[in-house]
Structures are given as C-alpha cells and as structure tokens.
C-alpha cells in the first residue's frame, strides 16, 4: 500500500462517504423528539394569556424552582439511558414496517397509531425487571430532583396518590366528553402500563389542553394517566398538571389540598417547589 491512494481508491472512498452522508433518520424519530420540551418552556405563555383568576403554578423565582419540564426531562433522560442500557426488547422503538401500517395523515392520528404500537411494546417492557442506570455524566449529577432512575415498576418518588383520591370523582364524568382520550389504552379494561413515549405524549396533550383553556379535557387526560401510568417517573409531573388544571377550573380547594399533599410527600423534589409556590399563591396567608 503506497502512501498516496490511487484516484480510484479516492473515488471509491468518496462514494462510501457520500452514502454515509445520504442516510437519514426515519420520520418516527422526529415524532419522538417532538414530545420533548425544553426546560424553560415549562411555564407556559398561555398562563399569561388566559384570563383566569386562578393562581398560576409558576416558579416564584426563575432560578430557584426548577421548571417542570426540566425535572421531567431529567427523569426522562434517565429513562432514555435505561433504554440504551436495558434489555433489547424494552426500548420504545417504532420500526418503519410497523409504523407504516398505522400511519395516517393527521398528527393526532399518527400519534395515536404510534401509541398503539408503543402500547404493544409496553407489555414486553413490563416484564423487564433489571434496569441498570446509565452514567450520564455531569448532567445527571447536576440535576437534583431525580436521585436515581426508578426500578421499572416503581414510582420515582413517593408521589402523592392524589390523582386517584382527590380529583377523579369530579373529573371522571368529564372523561366521556373528551374524544381525544379514546386511545386504545383508554378503551382497554385493565390498562397496561404506559411506555415512556406514550406517557409523555399523554401528559403533553394534557398540558396542551390546559394551555388552551380546556381544563376539563386536561383532567380527563390526567385521569387516564393515573389509571395507566407507566412508572416512568412522571407521576409528579402529572400531579402538578392536575393541580394546575383544578386551579384553572376554579376548584381551588382540591388544588390546594393536592398541592399540600404533594409537597408533604415530596419535600425534596424540585417539583415540590412549584407546588409550594402554588400554595403560597393560593393561600397568601400561609408561609
């Protein structure tokens, strides 16, 4: 082998490089990533736009209280790490074949089709017992809220069980009014645990509903979440959304109760700061 490659060799190498350059990820990846929101988007503009008397669930100081999605993303990054290091069957993965079966035109339909696929995978995922943590380097350590990725079937932290005990009686009827919740999971009698992507999507829809002023729809989605939650460490997030939704619907007492219990159960959770801030706003007299 001489030091100078022949022109043919160069051309061949160039062909190979071009082939590498031409490769693209599939559309499923874009959808997966569309579920992610940045930490700073946690506290929504719609809270400012909507004219509601309800106190907003907002961090009192920009830097002291970690935004909702920062913590959620931290939890999720742990989850994503688990996918990488966990067993082969577990990762949420939409292969092009499976996806092409369910693809339809609207984003909503696509999301639901994807959810269907993901749901099937949840069954396999549920059997996964051992999930080693991924060393995510400084990012992971820098994030105070989720100490360790939870075991698959356990909650990330002792989240107040309020979603089921406090709100559902009132929220349950609303569920019927929300057509967007008629996912396969909602229809199934004993819901399977949600996969991370499905859970994230559900919460994202709940948040979107909340922002658009559809508090009842948001509650319906959160009810769905509380029935099917996947143990992905998003229960705290769901609880906070519920607090916000109850508050937006004018159900301040329930919201405050839930927030109080959440804080009591999660004294060190970064999301607890947000709940505390909510309590302060809801009840100016209390510290």
């Amino acid at each position: 082998m001489s030091d100078e490659p022949t022109p043919e060799l160069r051309a061949l190498a160039a062909t190979l490089f071009a082939a590498g350059r031409a490769e693209r990820p599939g559309p499923a990846l874009g959808r997966r990533l569309s579920l992610i929101e940045p930490s700073s988007a946690a506290l929504p503009a719609p809270a400012r736009q909507r004219q509601s008397a309800a106190p907003r669930l907002r961090a009192s100081r920009a830097h002291s209280a970690l935004p909702l999605w920062l913590a959620a993303a931290a939890l999720l990054a742990g989850g994503a790490g688990l996918w990488l290091s966990g067993d082969r069957e577990a990762p949420i993965r939409i292969s092009p074949e499976r996806e092409s079966r369910g693809v339809s035109t609207t984003p909503r339909k696509q999301a639901e089709a994807a959810e269907q696929v993901l749901k099937r995978e949840a069954a396999a995922e549920a059997t996964t017992a051992e999930r080693p943590a991924l060393d995510d380097g400084p990012e992971r350590r820098a994030s105070p809220s989720p100490p360790r990725p939870p075991p698959r079937r356990a909650l990330a932290e002792p989240v107040v069980d309020a979603p089921r005990s406090a709100a559902p009686p009132a929220a349950a009827p609303q569920r019927a009014e929300t057509p967007t919740t008629t996912t396969p999971a909602a229809a199934s009698p004993r819901a399977q645990p949600l996969t991370l992507s499905a859970e994230l999507d559900l919460l994202k829809r709940a948040r979107a509903a909340l922002r658009s002023g559809a508090g009842e729809q948001a509650l319906g989605l959160l009810d769905q979440h509380s029935h099917e939650r996947g143990g992905n460490g998003l229960d705290a997030e769901a609880t906070l959304l519920r607090i916000e939704a109850l508050s937006a619907l004018g159900r301040q007492d329930e919201a405050s109760q839930l927030a109080t219990r959440f804080v009591a159960a999660n004294p060190n959770n970064a999301l607890g700061d947000r709940a505390r801030s909510f309590i302060r706003r809801a009840q100016p007299g209390t510290p």
């Binding site: 082998m1 590498g20 350059r21 990820p25 992610i36 700073s40 082969r88 292969s95």
Partner: protein
C-alpha cells in the same frame, strides 16, 4: 410563536461552511426555538451517531437521549452555539450505548438494521446500503478518535477548525489525526479491494 408551517423544513439544505455552527435558535419562545433546534439538528446528530458506530435503531434512541439532555439544559445552551454541546452529548451517549452493546454483544447487523434505515429499497438505495455497510465496517476498524475526525471531515464536511471546536482539540491535532485517519481508511479500503479481487481472480 410561529406556526408549524413556517418552521424550517427538515429537508432544508444546510449550507456548508461558516454558518454550519451557527445557532439556529434565535426566537424568543423557547418552545419554538427548541423545536427549531430539533428540526435543524436532528439529522446531523443522528448521522453523527450512526457513523460513529450506532445502528439506526440505537441512533434513534441515542438521538432522543441527546435532545432530552439538551431540553434539560436548554437555557444554558441557548446563549451558545448548539453544535459543540450537541456533539459532546452525542459522543458521550454513543460511548455509553456502545459499552452496553459490547456487553450485550448482539449488535444488529447492517442487514438487519437495514430494515430500520427508513428508506424505500430501489436498487440505488440497496447500493447505498451496501456502501454504508462497507463504510461502517471500515470505520469500525479505526480507533474511535480517528473515526470521529474522519466522519466529521469526510461525511459532515466540516473544516479542521470546526472539528477542532467540536472535539475540543487544537487544529493541528485535528489535522494530524485526519491525515492518519485518511491514510488508515484508504489502506483498509485498498486491503478490502485486493481481498475482493483475489477471491474473484483465483
């Protein structure tokens, strides 16, 4: 916040050159700018992950993980150019994934992964797939530090300065690694060719 139709398309060609490292996220709404960032950089991140050794499906997972990290640190990131950060996260995520894969040792072949390559299979794409299989095989024989600079230079077509920024290395080091990487790649390719013609010839 802009409507989705105004967002830059994934297919939007990215000019090579000095703007390749520029920050696409300059809107005020963090959600919009984050999704712009995802759109603008998703393919780049994925492709880098692919070429530094992950299967398509693993690259999907790793890309998602990269953007989850980005989402978490988005405030810090917005004041900077994203690619060095993205690249740093991506290489670390890839290293973790590869460690796991080595442990598991059931790495999907490119043939199996081909199904996940998300492309229709007309002849030329099959050709491309074979070319990529060879590319990955040869790249896989390079030491990781040479592989990375070669990928950034030849596939992503970045300049030595840009690579130096991503790799946090002096430009001179990048140049010398690049020389070694090219020489090694050409040698491997030549070896492959002669193996092939020997099998054919005899």
């Amino acid at each position: 916040m802009r409507s989705p139709s105004e967002l830059p398309s994934l297919e939007e060609p990215r000019r090579q050159g000095e703007d390749v490292l520029s920050d696409p996220a300059d809107q005020n709404d963090p959600r919009t700018s984050f999704s712009d960032l995802v759109r603008a950089e998703l393919e780049w991140v994925w492709r880098v992950l692919r070429r530094i050794g992950l299967s398509p499906a693993d690259a999907d997972d790793a890309t998602q993980q990269v953007f989850l990290v980005v989402a978490r640190r988005y405030d810090e990131l917005r004041v900077q150019r994203p690619r060095p950060f993205l690249y740093g996260v991506a290489t670390r995520v890839a290293a973790n994934a590869q460690r796991t894969l080595r442990r598991r040792r059931e790495e999907p072949s490119e043939a199996a992964a081909g199904a996940a390559a998300h492309e229709p299979p007309p002849d030329e794409l099959l050709e491309q797939r074979r070319a990529r299989a060879l590319l990955d095989e040869l790249l896989g024989q390079l030491p990781p530090e040479l592989r990375r600079v070669l990928v950034l230079a030849e596939i992503e077509q970045l300049t030595a300065q840009q690579i130096a920024e991503l790799e946090a290395l002096p430009t001179g080091t990048v140049r010398s690694r690049l020389r070694r990487a090219r020489a090694a790649f050409h040698a491997l390719l030549a070896q492959r060719q002669s193996d092939f013609s020997q099998r054919r010839g005899t």
